[in-house]
Assembly symmetry: C2
């Protein structure tokens, strides 16, 4: 990094869960000329991914917190002058109640936290965002601070979807759109016009393994139809939390399932390890393409 960062500019805080995404976000933000307070959640974030960034001492301050230490988190943000927070990476555990009890700042806010958790019709995440905002902290989206990590428009690598792939994309995208309001089915696989798999709790990788297995036993066409994976987001999803992700593994699994490529909603799906993902797609002859949801679709 040769960028000179004015020390006085307010830093961006990144609350880091698992995977490589938090480190990628931090790199992008630092490269854009902004300081970062990188907050790893113990047991979720990967030290091996975050610690190298912590060594860029003038641009990145790395801290570790327990799940639920909201008081310590808010104190840290105030101390660092960070008013914007981005959430990145996967969270697999629930908050540790002992950490909450040991954190005076959290305990003090507990009535408000509980009210946020139990009240209203919004999702828990939307209410947690409201809780932060009442403390003067704004949650921003990946697209606001690291737009290059999101899927671009059209083909991203060397391969392009042909007309039969476009037909399959349309079929799978129709399913993703139909399920958009129902908090399920953010990904689907179509072979030609036939949708053969819809993602539930198993995740995209497991769904692609299922397609590979169904093809191997001849339950669905082996190579007769062009197959595609489509990933999108829920209708009205808050773009600041929990965006769907693709990466090199997605490309490898899609290839093993005999698919011709992957289409994902432009600006709404994260491409982790972008260079490696594109290299894998080019090497295996898969397209990787961004699409905008059709106007009039329930998006």
């Amino acid at each position: 990094m040769t960028t000179t960062i004015p020390a006085a500019a307010p830093p961006l805080a990144i609350i880091a869960g698992g995977g490589v995404l938090p480190a990628e976000v931090a790199s992008e933000v630092v490269a854009s000329g902004r300081r970062v307070v990188l907050i790893g959640i113990h047991g979720e974030a990967e030290p091996a991914a975050l610690e190298p960034l912590g060594r860029i001492a003038d641009s990145v301050r790395l801290e570790w917190l327990e799940w639920g230490q909201i008081g310590r988190l808010l104190a840290l943000l105030a101390h660092e002058g960070a008013r914007e927070v981005v959430l990145a990476g996967s969270i697999s555990r629930r908050p540790d109640f002992r950490a909450i009890v040991g954190d005076f700042g959290t305990l003090k806010r507990l009535p408000r936290i509980i009210a946020a958790m139990v009240g209203g019709d919004d999702s828990v995440l939307t209410r947690v965002i409201g809780l932060f905002e009442r403390e003067g902290v704004t949650i921003v989206g990946l697209g606001d601070v690291a737009p290059r990590l999101l899927m671009g428009e059209g083909p991203q690598g060397r391969c392009r979807p042909d007309s039969s792939a476009q037909e399959a994309i349309g079929a799978a995208a129709a399913v993703v759109t139909a399920l958009g309001t129902l908090d399920v089915g953010q990904a689907a696989v179509a072979l030609g016009r036939r949708v053969v798999a819809i993602e539930g709790a198993e995740g995209t990788d497991a769904m692609l393994e299922r397609v590979a297995a169904l093809r191997a036993i001849g339950r669905i066409g082996r190579g007769d139809y062009t197959g595609v994976l489509v990933k999108g987001i829920k209708s009205g999803q808050d773009l600041r939390v929990d965006l769907p992700t693709i990466g090199p593994q997605t490309v490898i699994r899609a290839h093993e399932a005999g698919l011709a490529g992957i289409a994902a909603e432009t600006g709404r799906v994260v491409v982790v390890q972008r260079a490696a993902t594109l290299a894998e797609a080019d090497r295996r002859g898969l397209f990787l393409s961004g699409f905008a949801r059709a106007a009039g679709a329930r998006a």
Copy 2:
């Protein structure tokens, strides 16, 4: 069977694919006092299931045909005076072209058959039905000739869905309804309000195995939420072909997936081996319940 059947009444023809359903339909129809021409498709229908019925010589005439012998089929129907046909059982192969070439009646109609196959926007099955109807043969539905084989209204066995199960049924039924027009997703599993699996080409049994596996690894709640399987039909599906089916295996797999029961659309889902299915459900403490799709739903 003690029913006396007037020999002069026109018989019902049953074109039999795989599984136990064709034999069940034949028994029901004979019990209702109507003769049956039972036509097994070689390589699909199970001789062990059909041959015992063939021995009730005054009520059932059993014949075997190759896939694609439409000429021989129409000649047989004419000879037996059968003007109504019901399709029952699964078909896993495609017509054997050699059988078509060897059947003069089929060859003669080939231009019309090809026109039916390639023309129009309807499904192939709808067009095949039209082809039969132009020959003076009517395709009827299971509900017309053996309504007792279809799911009834409300709880069928000893167990009933409680309010948390009703909530899960609502969540999974919303997914089945949303996908209704898209020719996919006729079954879904919900744990509480969360839909965790949607059926694609893998079939209901494989989807239930997936749910069991996801529960075993703790990816979805182990027993915290009431789980249900919901099965429905496509919007506007022709009720004369390819109705979804549940049976004893479905109950066993649903139980192994930790579900509390199965809800299926009343009058639109077949319950094969009804007595065994209900006994299995009662023994394992699962409910088996018929529901009408909500008015206003896209059905």
